[in-house]
């Protein structure tokens, strides 16, 4: 079993829809959780990060972590065609065990105008 599991999709939604992207993880030692966005033929770029459990909001994006169920979510409100990309969740440790991000497989999202 991979340490971070993510449904690869693809996921196709109409413009304006609320998008929910999810990951599960198995390693209880993970403390930092990140969402990266990767446009086609580009490198991933950090979208949001969360430390431990809780919510974090940035504009139309909300990241949620529930450590009790080992569940990571990203919500996109009022989705736009420019949000079409692959979204990768990632997790890592804190302190001496870090430097290493463990990624999910990524979910490909298409937002249809």
């Amino acid at each position: 079993q991979k340490e971070v599991e993510q449904d690869p999709g693809p996921l196709s939604v109409p413009e304006g829809a609320i998008v929910s992207l999810n990951c599960t993880y198995s390693n209880s030692a993970f403390q930092y959780f990140m969402w990266y966005r990767q446009y086609s033929r580009k490198g991933p770029e950090l979208l949001m990060y969360t430390y431990s459990s809780g919510n974090k909001e940035d504009g139309r994006f909300t990241a949620q972590v529930d450590k009790s169920s080992k569940y990571i979510s990203l919500f996109i409100r009022d989705s736009q065609p420019s949000d079409s990309a692959t979204y990768l969740c990632a997790a890592t440790y804190s302190g001496a065990g870090s430097y290493q991000l463990t990624f999910g497989k990524g979910t490909k999202l298409s937002v249809i105008p």
């Binding site: 804190s94 870090s98 430097y99």
Partner: protein, 115 residues
């Protein structure tokens, strides 16, 4: 100015050849990484260097050898290329451990095709 750059962008080569991919970052970061992204888009860490010292060396064939001549450069040399090495290789850098606010910045990737 490109923060993390890689050369070449595309590399097509025959099985058995030896090739190198170069990476440079102009962000003044201390840590650099190599990742491999396979055809199913799965992104996996290969190596991590901090201040020119190897920190992470995941289970990759020893045909892959990273070299860091200075903090701003991390090159990847691959010997005796195999079909299964075909993938996109990403270089990344971060100031320190790449967690939380210490973002990892990725390069544009090098698409390697082994024939």
């Amino acid at each position: 100015d490109t923060a993390v750059s890689q050369t070449p962008k595309y590399l097509v080569t025959q099985m058995g050849n030896d090739k190198s991919i170069k990476c440079e970052q102009n962000l003044g970061h201390d840590t650099m990484y190599w990742y491999k992204q396979d055809s199913k888009k799965f992104l996996k860490i290969m190596f991590s260097y901090n201040n020119k010292e190897l920190i992470i060396n995941e289970t990759v064939p020893n045909r892959f050898s990273p070299k860091s001549p200075d903090k701003a450069h991390l090159n990847l040399h691959i010997n005796s290329l195999e079909l299964g090495d075909s993938a996109v290789y990403f270089c990344a850098s971060s100031q320190d451990r790449g967690t939380g606010t210490d973002t990892q910045y990725f390069g544009p990737g090098t698409r390697l095709t082994v024939l």
